[in-house]
């Protein structure tokens, strides 16, 4: 029997993927483990491998199609097998190979995606049909949560965005989709004013007719970067603190560590690893920096997940080291290496790149002295790291040469005030200048 190839759910937040390209032609012979398809999520590209050897029969999907996770996209079988058109409408239910797939997430997603299998009462079906409601999106409360009943559809309808008749008609007249508007009326109802406000909004600026040699579409990683950076720059109340740090001891420590552990660990810990460890330690001391802004509150976060901005061929990516404060240097460095490896190879799992609570970005290797990075929303701050340079400084009234570094902490003043942010940065400075203090603050390994 033919084996089905489907889009796996590779992370908690992953709900759909875009077909990036087919690596094998329809009808070609493939062997198990061979990459056959590349798909793209909003976070990263990843490959899908053949789960059997045989002949590949591709479904009616082409580059650019956006598909929900667990959609069956191809089958592998005998040369005479065909991709059953019925499969195109179906999606995969829970699969036995649970290595990367989280069983629970699949159970939810399969119910949500599989319209044909929703159990619903006739009245619920009638009401849903009248109102164009996708029953799969309705939370069932009948039959122990298995069966959608009429009141579930009503609850669903009542939670949908509302529009006044005048606003709806005006939107139709001017060719605007009112569902895209934010309602200012009672309970978020879209009113005539909301439609008019949208109409009055300035149209996107026309670019002048200069010669263009290449167009990089704002999609995938590029699109996400453009959107996130603009959102951050427009919404946060950014303040930057600069602090000069003497890294002489820190450099010495790193050199000695390198000499002592490189053979045993199989790699030498770098400045980035050490900085991640220092920042994670400092975040534990200053929990108000490990926070985010919700619409109605500042939320301090339970886990310290340090994001490390890295440059890849496809653009900026930020792999996240989870619970960085609880990992020892070796675990942290090894994990970071894996994350960077996957990200650079375009094989990052969506969860590799989400859930950060604080970001470090280092441009020191490019001789940058200091800079003011953009906060990675919804985080509260980002630490910019410049290059370590030997500089004459005054120590005990003598001019001596020390290894100096400029740190820039950009924080969102809506979340943190200047003095508390400065104290956090001072603590990082202290840990860099006197790295043995790390021992004093070391947390237990998990």
């Amino acid at each position: 029997m033919a084996k089905e190839i489907y889009i796996p759910k590779l992370g908690q937040t992953m709900e759909q993927a875009t077909i990036a390209r087919w690596l094998v032609e329809d009808g070609a012979q493939v062997s198990e483990g061979q990459p056959i398809l590349e798909v793209e999520t909003d976070k990263a590209n990843f490959g899908i491998e053949a789960n059997a050897s045989g002949y590949l029969h591709v479904g009616p999907y082409k580059k650019g199609d956006v598909l929900p996770v667990l959609t069956v996209v191809a089958v592998i079988g005998k040369p005479e097998d065909k991709f059953d058109a019925k499969l195109a409408k179906e999606t995969k239910a829970a699969k036995e190979d649970g290595e990367t797939i989280q069983a629970q997430a699949i159970a939810i997603a399969s119910v949500a995606a599989d319209v044909g299998r929703v159990f619903a009462s006739p009245r619920a079906r009638k009401l849903a049909a009248e109102n164009g409601v996708n029953l799969a999106l309705v939370t069932a409360t009948g039959g122990d949560g298995q069966r959608v009943v009429e009141r579930d559809v009503l609850t669903y309808l009542s939670a949908l965005p509302k529009v006044t008749p005048v606003a709806q008609r005006l939107a139709t007249v001017v060719g605007l989709d009112w569902r895209t508007l934010t309602g200012s009326g009672a309970q978020g109802k879209v009113t005539k004013k909301d439609v008019e406000r949208q109409l009055a909004a300035p149209a996107p600026t026309q670019l002048s007719g200069v010669e263009v040699v290449e167009r990089v579409p704002l999609e995938g990683v590029r699109g996400i970067i453009a959107e996130r950076m603009a959102a951050s720059a427009h919404t946060t109340a950014r303040v930057t603190l600069f602090m000069e740090v003497d890294t002489t001891e820190f450099v010495t420590m790193r050199e000695r560590l390198k000499a002592r552990v490189a053979d045993a660990w199989g790699f030498a810990p770098g400045y980035s690893d050490l900085l991640a460890k220092i920042v994670a330690t400092a975040l534990r001391q200053f929990p108000y920096m490990n926070a985010r802004l919700a619409p109605d509150a500042i939320e301090r976060l339970a886990h310290i997940n340090v994001g490390m901005a890295i440059d890849t061929e496809r653009g900026l990516l930020v792999p996240v080291i989870r619970d960085a404060d609880k990992k020892n240097l070796r675990q942290l460095s090894a994990e970071f290496r894996e994350l960077v490896g996957r990200a650079r190879a375009g094989k990052a799992m969506p969860d590799d790149l989400t859930g950060g609570t604080f970001t470090i970005t280092n441009l020191g290797m490019h001789d940058v002295l200091a800079f003011t990075p953009i906060i990675n929303l919804p985080e509260a701050a980002i630490l910019g790291v410049g290059c370590i340079t030997p500089k004459p400084v005054v120590r005990e009234e003598q001019v001596v040469v020390r290894q100096m570094l400029l740190l820039s902490l950009v924080f969102d003043h809506r979340v943190v005030d200047g003095a508390p942010a400065a104290r956090f940065l001072q603590h990082i400075k202290a840990l860099i200048e006197e790295p043995y203090l790390l021992v004093a603050e070391m947390g237990g390994a998990p």
């Binding site: 006044t164 005048v166 008609r169």
Partner: protein, 469 residues
């Protein structure tokens, strides 16, 4: 907190001030209210409420005169206006006591006196012993207030060169207290007050002349409404002079002489009802720099003045000088002070009522205004002539007219003349407020046989474009 420190001090106890005070008290704030004359303001004491009582009497009188039509007859019909007057006072007193009771329930400290701002957080109060209708505290001194709501109302405007003597040349203040109707009266200004009092006096036998400077009586209403009422008033025997600018009002031997546009009207009394001026003077606004334009206090849509903790509501803001506007603004101000979510008023959805017979009720733009503002105007009309209930009542005159935007169906204005139309208007206010179109009104079933059927009938007009959704 000291006895004289408040979260909110409200200056003025009219329908704006007492509603604001009550709402603020409901939010748990400590509220003081200073009133110099009477709780309930002009509205309850010498305005809306007593006139509505007198108008009920007048309507019955008019009906009695239609005995032949309905098949009853009587001899020696005597009309005692003094009893109508006494009834109007009883109704007024009852409501004023009701407000006093509400103030007690809300634990609002009522001060019987004149208020003046000393600073943005201090109000000087001078006790007014004669203002017994306030029934408030005897206090001379300074109150501290975190927030102040100014609700001082408005007063009658006079004609330049005309001296109101309160005896023969009077305003509504004296007119409401007349124990007998004058034999003849010239009413200057055919707005709601002039129309209502003119109707009352005429029903009780006065020779009434209405003098209006503008081309139509009820000049703020849609022209069709004005014309319909003019027809009815003419039938009642009220003389209407329009396009008539008053040049002089002179006391003569027995009465007064009004000269308007070359015409001379000799009457027993003259009533000046040409409009109102905001009471923005002598309350210390200059001490704190509250911005005033053309006599009216300037506010934002949450009724906040340029001084952040000072609010102004009602006639003193001169937005739409109506009691229910003042009350609604008072609630917005109180909610704003309490930090609650609030919604500013849509002045295009404010009901306007004139209670003469036939009644006039309207909201929003007139047909002319809608055209002038560039809308694609759609007009729908339906007459009470075709309504069974109206015919049964013997009230077949009048109509409902709806001005809407043909493009998106927005209801821009509604104009009604006829039986109890002031009670029919709210359906359209709600519709306008919730941005409903005529389609939704037409599809709401209206009971048969009621006057309200007209509201659905006027809305139920299939059109060639936009009728289907």
């Amino acid at each position: 907190m000291s006895d004289h420190a408040f979260d909110v001090i409200v200056i003025g106890g009219g329908p704006g001030g007492y509603e604001a005070a009550l709402r603020a008290a409901q939010f748990g704030m400590r509220v003081g209210l200073v009133e110099r004359e009477f709780l309930g303001g002009v509205c309850l004491n010498i305005g809306c409420i007593p006139t509505k009582t007198l108008l009920r009497n007048a309507e019955i009188v008019e009906l009695l005169h239609r005995g032949k039509e309905f098949g009853f007859s009587f001899e020696n019909l005597r009309l005692d206006y003094e009893i109508a007057y006494t009834r109007s006072r009883q109704v007024s007193d009852r409501l004023v006591q009701g407000v006093q009771f509400l103030m007690q329930v809300g634990k609002i400290d009522v001060f019987q006196g004149v208020a003046k701002l000393r600073s943005a957080t201090q109000v000087d109060v001078t006790f007014m012993p004669e203002a017994t209708a306030v029934n408030g505290k005897k206090f001379d001194g300074t109150l501290d207030a975190k927030n102040i709501i100014i609700a001082t109302g408005a007063r009658s405007r006079s004609i330049p060169g005309v001296e109101i003597d309160g005896e023969r040349i009077i305003t509504y203040r004296e007119a409401i207290h007349l124990r007998q109707v004058p034999q003849s009266i010239a009413i200057i200004g055919a707005g709601p007050i002039g129309m209502e009092l003119g109707y009352v006096f005429r029903c009780y036998g006065s020779e009434v002349t209405l003098i209006e400077m503008m081309p139509n009586i009820l000049p703020l209403e849609d022209e069709e409404s004005s014309a319909e009422v003019a027809k009815a008033f003419d039938h009642l025997g009220i003389k209407l002079l329009t396009n008539a600018r008053v040049e002089a009002v002179i006391r003569t031997g027995e009465g007064v002489q009004v000269r308007a546009n070359g015409q001379i009207v000799n009457t027993e009394k003259a009533l000046v009802a040409i409009g109102f001026l905001p009471n923005s003077e002598n309350i210390g606004l200059e001490n704190v720099g509250v911005r005033v334009e053309r006599g009216a206090i300037v506010t934002d849509e949450n009724m906040r003045t340029n001084v952040p903790n000072i609010f102004a509501i009602g006639d003193v803001t001169a937005k739409l000088m109506l009691a229910h506007v003042a009350s609604a603004q008072g609630i917005v101000a109180a909610e704003t002070i309490a930090g609650m979510q609030t919604i500013g008023l849509d002045y295009g959805a404010v009901p306007r009522c004139t209670f003469c017979h036939p009644q006039v009720a309207s909201m929003g733009l007139t047909e002319k205004q809608a055209f002038a503002q560039g809308y694609q105007v759609k007009i729908d009309r339906f007459p009470f002539q075709a309504n069974g209930k109206a015919l049964g009542l013997g009230e077949p005159d009048g109509f409902v007219k709806v001005v809407s935007d043909a493009r998106c169906g927005e209801i821009l204005g509604v104009h009604m003349v006829g039986p109890d139309v002031t009670e029919l208007l709210p359906e359209y206010v709600l519709a306008r407020n919730q941005e409903l179109t005529l389609h939704e009104i037409a599809r709401s079933i209206h009971a048969h046989p009621t006057l309200s059927e007209v509201l659905a009938k006027v809305a139920d007009r299939p059109t060639f474009s936009g009728g289907r959704t």
